[in-house]
Symmetry: C2
């Protein structure tokens, strides 16, 4: 396992990885998470690991806040305000100010909220822009927004793509909003948020960022970039648990004029007056929808406690070291099987994942999972590895590549059991 990789300017072996881990300032966070024995978890970009303190916290929320407090907990345990209180705890991770972030329903619902509000702020403009490779829910939700806000006929859609058209090709004074995902879910390519936002604004359009693969993965500075709206999910790098609620960010300057579409009572100016007519709450509160899913939301309280202790600059530094190490090991040890790294090698253009193109990626990923190396597969031919600096080590990276090398070398992935697909691939 500790052989030196050939053909590199510097040599690295497993002992070096372990030595780097020993000096890792983030190493102490590993024990704050529970991971099963024998697993190298490289899918925290899909579902983050369980924080060690979450089970006890949830037990308390369930037995004390719900079981004993019952309805009184809406006041006594602060349930009603939690979507804003927790939003304020996410704010520092994305360059947002207090009062700019609130939790929502699913990310899809928050994309809808943001996109409708943004398009309405640019009346008369009849085109939305997104990206062919964007996470599909953003595109599907936008299609609905195009129809709902188009009037006689749907708003137009222009999709940029890696092979063109470019953003500059599609921007003109008919574009109302641009909806892009900051870090691409398949390739891990990261946009320059400030530069893209500037170009979108130069065309008079508004910018909606999807931060699902950014928050907790890379430093984000929404206000620094001058963005308009953003949404993100909390169950990946933020470790909120399966399907934990999305968040929505609205720049303070838009909050009083933004008109959301999901006008549920928790977003009303005075929800407990039970008025007949809708009147939006002042500020970010108007982007709330209905009664929040308290149990899913509460799990965020323990994970965000961890995140409040973390220096995002250290996270980024380690993330780049982990992804760089993975890429060089793939280059040196897996090139003979034609494995192609599709994630940008330029660090400023890379999030916290690395994706490989592998013709038989599905079966290979199943073989990896059987060996305890958990990543995931995205059709048609990408295997994805997420590197979450709070609980993935350099040694994990070394070992994961060693297992992948062994699987490719032995061809074990050709076994029929690895090609059977589950409902969720």
């Amino acid at each position: 396992m500790s052989t030196t990789a050939p053909g590199r300017l510097f040599s690295i072996d497993r002992a070096t990885c372990t030595a780097v881990d020993d000096a890792d300032p983030l190493g102490r966070f590993r024990d704050r998470f529970t991971l099963p024995e024998g697993v190298i978890y490289l899918d925290g970009n899909s579902l983050g690991a369980l924080p060690r303190d979450t089970p006890a916290h949830m037990q308390r929320v369930i037995t004390e806040e719900w079981g004993t407090g019952l309805i009184r907990s809406w006041n006594d345990a602060g349930w009603f305000d939690k979507p804003r209180v927790i939003g304020d705890r996410i704010a520092p991770l994305i360059g947002a100010a207090p009062g700019e972030v609130v939790l929502g329903d699913s990310t899809s619902a928050s994309v809808f909220q943001a996109a409708v509000a943004a398009v309405r702020l640019r009346p008369g403009r009849r085109v939305v822009v997104s990206e062919r490779g964007n996470f599909p829910t953003d595109l599907y939700v936008l299609e609905s927004v195009q129809t709902l806000l188009g009037g006689e006929e749907p708003l137009g859609r222009r999709l940029i793509a890696d092979d063109g058209p470019t953003l500059d090709d599609v921007l003109d004074d008919d574009v109302a909003v641009v909806v892009l995902t900051h870090v691409d879910y398949r390739t891990g390519r990261m946009y320059d948020m400030a530069d893209v936002t500037r170009r979108v604004h130069a065309a008079g359009a508004l910018m909606v960022w999807d931060l699902c693969h950014s928050v907790g993965a890379v430093p984000v500075d929404l206000n620094g970039a001058g963005a308009d709206f953003a949404v993100g999910c909390t169950y990946k790098y933020l470790n909120g648990g399966p399907g934990s609620p999305s968040f929505i960010w609205v720049a303070e300057r838009h909050q009083s004029s933004a008109r959301p579409a999901l006008t549920g009572w928790h977003g009303h100016a005075s929800p407990f007056d039970f008025e007949v007519d809708y009147a939006p709450a002042a500020g970010i509160g108007r982007f709330r929808v209905g009664t929040p899913q308290l149990l899913s939301m509460s799990a965020l309280e323990t994970s965000l406690q961890i995140w409040s202790e973390v220096d995002m600059a250290q996270v980024r530094e380690k993330s780049l070291r982990l992804t760089e190490l993975f890429i060089s090991l793939v280059d040196t040890r897996l090139a003979r099987w034609g494995v192609e790294v599709v994630t940008p090698r330029e660090s400023s253009k890379r999030g916290s994942q690395v994706s490989l193109r592998l013709a038989d990626g599905y079966a290979i990923m199943q073989a990896l999972i059987e060996r305890g190396v958990i990543g995931d597969f995205r059709a048609p031919d990408l295997v994805r590895f997420g590197f979450t600096p709070l609980y993935v080590s350099h040694t994990d990276v070394w070992d994961a590549v060693a297992v992948l090398e062994d699987i490719l070398e032995t061809g074990v992935w050709r076994d029929a059991r690895f090609s059977r697909r589950g409902a969720v691939t």
Copy 2:
């Protein structure tokens, strides 16, 4: 405590209540719930009590399915299908067939889904009908639907009310949909679902039922009534926990033509093909939105186990006995303070709650809560008591009225501490 109520055709005392409880076929369910010592919980119509088995179940979901299973649980623990699997378990409680119910985001989001789809099935009709006293979120969401689907100008709205106009006053061939709550959240008045639906259909409109205060409270037969769409919440009588997900029901005959507005990827025909264009899933699946909030959803698994063992006819029978007992005790013991029962006395028009009009209702309810009798207050002057037959006894009803009588008699509610309002009243 065991004095006989005067002026009634039959006399009842506390011992009689206890004897009735002893013979109660639903009495055995009381132990399936955890309630704090010294509390009479009459607010299960707002937040249902905690099932005894839920904490251990949730601990397993959190530590095993999330902590150990990690991303694999989307397949291995059946996470992806749960919104439909759990929907099928709700179906028998509302007269729905398998494949007609799916879990959604918040109830407000599901009202939006249902209302948009219903209006779209009646193109050309430009009016929506609801009720002035409907739960506000339904009205707020409808306002948004009116704007989004109206084109040049919003769809019109007609609101029926107890003092007119009536449903028949407002129905004509311009009405697209009627959105009503089956059991009124304030008064507990229940509509005749079959009769209302028939009249709405006679006008060529579609019927959307809000079942928030019906499901688990009264027998519901959506297919028997020939209804079109329904939504409901699971955190009241169904005991799913604070903010547990809503459900949506779509009559099978509408499923292939219905077009939802929240077109998230979990409602796509092939979500894991990551296609660029939206294509709705066949059947009820298209009403799913994004990644479901798994922890909040999972708590429903234990509570629905209880519900699968319950005979809804017995629930209704006991519910009527409890509410009738409460009303007669109020009549006989509280009339001298001018307490007015606003809930219909005719049992066929009553859900599973009783509301009293009390000028100083807020402070009186706070005094009740301090004494362990938990109901709630709805502005401007209603105190609400929900009777959940699985864990409320006839003796509870007797004792609750005795406490209320004492509070009115001593005037303790006039103490300043009872008039201070929390964020959530």
